[in-house]
Symmetry: D2
Subunit: 343 residues, 4 copies
Amino acid sequence: MIIAMKSDATEEQIEDVCESIRQYGYTPHLIRGEERVVIGAVGKGDNKDHLHSLRSRPGVADVVPILQPYKIVSREMKPEKSVVRVGDLEIGGAEFVVMAGPCSVETRDQLMETAEAVKSAGAQVLRGGAYKPRTSPYDFQGLEVEGLKLLAEARERTGLKIVTETVTAEDVEVVAEYADILQVGARNMQNFALLKKLGRANRPVLLKRGMSSTIKELLLSAEYIASHGNDQVILCERGIRTFETATRNTLDLAAVPVLNELSHLPVIVDPSHGTGRRSLIRPASKAAIAIGADGLIIEVHPRPQEAWSDGAQSLTPPEFSEIMMELRRYVGLESRYLNGALA
Amino acid sequence: MIIAMKSDATEEQIEDVCESIRQYGYTPHLIRGEERVVIGAVGKGDNKDHLHSLRSRPGVADVVPILQPYKIVSREMKPEKSVVRVGDLEIGGAEFVVMAGPCSVETRDQLMETAEAVKSAGAQVLRGGAYKPRTSPYDFQGLEVEGLKLLAEARERTGLKIVTETVTAEDVEVVAEYADILQVGARNMQNFALLKKLGRANRPVLLKRGMSSTIKELLLSAEYIASHGNDQVILCERGIRTFETATRNTLDLAAVPVLNELSHLPVIVDPSHGTGRRSLIRPASKAAIAIGADGLIIEVHPRPQEAWSDGAQSLTPPEFSEIMMELRRYVGLESRYLNGALA
Amino acid sequence: MIIAMKSDATEEQIEDVCESIRQYGYTPHLIRGEERVVIGAVGKGDNKDHLHSLRSRPGVADVVPILQPYKIVSREMKPEKSVVRVGDLEIGGAEFVVMAGPCSVETRDQLMETAEAVKSAGAQVLRGGAYKPRTSPYDFQGLEVEGLKLLAEARERTGLKIVTETVTAEDVEVVAEYADILQVGARNMQNFALLKKLGRANRPVLLKRGMSSTIKELLLSAEYIASHGNDQVILCERGIRTFETATRNTLDLAAVPVLNELSHLPVIVDPSHGTGRRSLIRPASKAAIAIGADGLIIEVHPRPQEAWSDGAQSLTPPEFSEIMMELRRYVGLESRYLNGALA
Amino acid sequence: MIIAMKSDATEEQIEDVCESIRQYGYTPHLIRGEERVVIGAVGKGDNKDHLHSLRSRPGVADVVPILQPYKIVSREMKPEKSVVRVGDLEIGGAEFVVMAGPCSVETRDQLMETAEAVKSAGAQVLRGGAYKPRTSPYDFQGLEVEGLKLLAEARERTGLKIVTETVTAEDVEVVAEYADILQVGARNMQNFALLKKLGRANRPVLLKRGMSSTIKELLLSAEYIASHGNDQVILCERGIRTFETATRNTLDLAAVPVLNELSHLPVIVDPSHGTGRRSLIRPASKAAIAIGADGLIIEVHPRPQEAWSDGAQSLTPPEFSEIMMELRRYVGLESRYLNGALA
């Protein structure tokens, strides 16, 4: 932590800050510049909050943190890339992973039709929401356990792995019973009770970046899960909220290489929520591969115009299949592979 | 819902959209403009999601919602201002309400000292976190039930009402046992499981605006609580996330009169989180009164430099007391009153 | 400038950075922490850009500037508040200053009617755009010199001072011939050619904050004007661009006390552009006074429904007059005064 | 334009709004919904500002524009993609275009060395700032005409086209004398005096998106240039300002396909300013190609650690050359080509 004093800070104020730093369990190091004194607080103390509070002390101009607050998930801690294993599937390795399926599980027919279509197009994981967090209380809220059972049935039929969202800490157990990967939605990225519970779950977690969360906060949320015992975390960029309204969110694709520099965890991209428009899925998916993503999660619905949610951003199975063929060529350029029946 | 067709949309595409509108249970109304056709979808259908999905249809340029999606909490539904009652205290009425206390409940001494100080300065409600949602897993997470018991003890001693945060749906019952007002933190504004649970609680709810939530989304979250049975909701503006970093958040004070136009619910302001700096609390509090807030929630700590969290934005009891005296004059200009021992 | 090394930085990399710091004309100061080395670069060098570029060096984790880059306009340089004089009017002193008038100068009748109305309501300065920067090339662009002449005529008739926008560096001279205060619009806050020209003008400047400019950038733009010779600068908060669309902009009222801490320049608030809605002008104006503004700039039009621009946010003269009476009471609480015929 | 009335609007209020619409030169069309009346204003009138002002009328809930306000640059007006010709170079056609060079022109040696390096790596255009808009008045402001002459000399020596920024309307003529493409910087995207002047210039314009400008505003600025006579405009996405600070800006890559849907103008991407970090240029450039950009503009400096500006985001010539080789393969997948000595 660096404490910058005001240019007119008195010696007494400087000494007062140094004394507090010592009391908090750190060692102060003074740098006397041309215009002001800057104090470094060195040590492994547990009182970072106290150091922050120095900002309101007389004579202090600013307090600037230097250390990254996450550890387990950082590249500094573990330089080599991590691979998350889901049965025989490796996420973060040479295989590029595509998760596809409807926004919501609606009916058996809808789900099975979609599952078979995305399987034959080359996807390895089936997505589909059984528990739906909805902004309006009047919107469809999901089939819940019924939906989980349909997802399990689709897995049996197709061999696809299952990823589905767990909306609350209480649901973690029942969702883990049916799903292969537990998804944390953007609105829950800082639901710390849920993160802690997932830290004790025996399943990989797909952690979506919150709509207005910084990259640092995303990594801190991953650290929550990891520090509670579960380091099988996959990060997901899905667009952030900005002033631009031409797209549903602003897909922060540069976050992918930034995350790859800061963390060893696999990173996938959600172009469906990230853009909100069907016509943008194809170019955004290609770009996600080119910028270094380990996978994609894409919404596919047999009849988007009848979808109970997110119809405007869902692909039809033929559209998805066509895009998958094009994506393989980009995956190839990245020295990765993406198999599938149509390859 | 308004569907704007592209200027080169064919008659077939227009008819196709009208046909879908009918299938979704609405009636299409065409307006043929100079450059394009615009279609209004009229009706009380439950298929707004379907209408939204029309955006991806051939020939469609845009889909624009017209109706506000919240009802119970809207002024259109109930034109007169609501008052939320907490025992003998009325929030949203002629009395201006101040909630004050530490960020976290830390020790009995800290809490009792603060409670007595804020009471004698004129506050009516004691705030203090027993369950703390923290961005980093390595930060202090709260005293939990122990903290709730200390809050109840402080109430007994001072007569102050208690507001404290409930972080998860599971905690609602135990928190409701001790607290007078249940607080939903900014990170939980869209924790829908929690909102639904609070909809069945027998306590007023203080709902904080999410850091990147629109006013519309705040009202939809209030609607969640109200539509599940509890219309005793107090809204709280506490700053939004923007590009500006000089303050911790950007306090959106204009949201207060906007909320007062759109909704009948009481609105309070949190200048502590809204600015993040002790020196800004006084001017921001005065402005909140002048712009029409029904109350304030302010962090006070006997020794901010030793606070376990948020020290930089906490006032000392003497600072708080001095500010309260100044605030009374602004409250008076708004034809409201704010009592207290020092008045 | 502080350079934080990565935790695994080698001694060679550290020495390499220190050597560069010396070459750039600064002195390196090492702090060896538990986890990493942090290097302070001390000195008065002119090579801050070079120090920034160290961020891409091997072994460097981050580069953090410590010094504020503005000097002349800072409180550290000049602790006492500045007063900008416009003839006998003092902005930033005990008198609260209200600038009012139409968005655009449209016709003689419109301007004279407005000027007399705002004068009699107590405003000291008449605003009105003769040169209009418009987002669309198809919108009304202003009466130009014709408009300036009408403004001068209104001054003669009422004794009001005149503030009007200068859109380009070329116009500075002609605008300065007619106006008392030269306004820089939000879109031009970083039009450096214009700022430099204003630095050589013999007129006070009203500098509006850019829609997406930080407080630091606003002060740097003021520094541009001041460092070129003109320190008669009035800062203006007029709302920033955020994700919220319920208001035209998000009025960052807390910027007022922040600016007052960082700078000695007077600060006024524009509630008309800051909110974009007539019904919000009154509460936002009261809040601006309470939070410490030195003045207001408000749009008034005799017939807003016929205004050529910004009708939705313009007050009628009777509305303005009524609000002014209420504002006086808030001004009084701040130990300032606001005269006028109706007081 | 759509005017939504409040649910409790009276018939008189509705008629009043319709009457105004007629006075403004439009025809009102009523849609009576279940909950409210919605009025469409149809016609080619010039009074859109007046329609907007209806928002403040009694009984009006909202005013929603339907028509895109730009015409000449829109796909609706001209469905086929435009190609901008710079001598024998076509931008927006089958050839992928790379513009590369230093942030600022500093010395003859620096520029010639860079020009030859980027030429031999395959770039077609040399970039380099002779006039620099700088946030701080104390930063290097450019070599001005001297820099333009060096750019022209580099063109003669290498055959590269020249793109350089024109900061003010006054400079357009002198810059056009030396440069092949006139660049408008992000801070000047809404410098309307400059845009109008460029509309009368006889040179293609590279228009950079403002840091906080919407896609719609970017297209309106292009419309300014086009409507004043010059439709040779190249759009450039260079990152927008958001809450995220891990990158210098948030590169909005999805803006590329959105612009390609809305407009026929060529679109290029600036990964250097868009990310601000050398290590992100390669992945972001690959992604820009994959998402459909027509070209790139990249900062290259022979010795970034000595650059007078933007050193942290500049590539060295060998880095640039290596990246160019990789980019060719992505360009190939898009059925385009990128020549050059090393291909």
